[in-house]
Symmetry: C2
Subunit: 122 residues, 2 copies
């Protein structure tokens, strides 16, 4: 299951509004949990749980960097299933809510620049 998410799993994963926002927010570059829960304005356990769900299904992968944990979307082996994800991400991008999430993500990343340095530059 971890390696090749089935279509049904992907659709169930995308059917939840919070997870859809997460998938829309995550691009090729990785984002850490604290940025996600800040951008989406959801409690940290909620963000963690949904990311855990997406990981279990095989849609994201994570990487530890010190205390932080970075998540990023996985490229799915089945191109037809990947196409569903792409279409959903594109459609979700039209939503003003997702646009706001992206803005807040940029702000969050700007504030907490990297796992190493906690303060903004200068």
């Amino acid at each position: 299951m971890r390696a090749a998410p089935k279509l049904a799993d992907v659709l169930k994963a995308l059917a939840d509004p919070t997870r859809l926002r997460m998938v829309a927010l995550l691009g090729s570059e990785e984002v850490c949990v604290c940025h996600i829960h800040t951008a989406l304005r959801v409690p940290q356990p909620t963000a963690s749980r949904h990311l855990s769900y997406l990981k279990r299904v095989g849609m994201v992968e994570d990487r530890r960097v010190g205390l932080w944990k970075h998540y990023r979307l996985r490229r799915l082996p089945d191109p037809a299933v990947q196409a569903v994800v792409d279409a959903a991400r594109k459609a979700a991008g039209d939503s003003p809510g997702v646009a706001r999430d992206c803005c807040r993500l940029v702000d969050a990343v700007r504030l907490i620049r990297s796992p190493i340095q906690t303060a903004p530059m200068a």
Copy 2:
């Protein structure tokens, strides 16, 4: 809601295995409920309920022909959302289960030719 299904509604609709099979089965040509519940091997009330769900969301439309009721997929106004449906239909098409559904649908249509004549030819 009826006119322009939102992305979230479409994803929730597709997240159910039975509805996904239905959407995969329904093409541009219309199919009546009896054929659907025969092809999918689900009880008639189940087929009716899910078709009702899809209609409420705005993904299908129906047409009465005597006792029969024919359903067909609707073209969605939002092209991005429509793309999600297309991708899901295409991905579902790879499933052997859906292939079997299609075969049974062809058989059913062959047996019950049209709303007017109940018996197969000759």
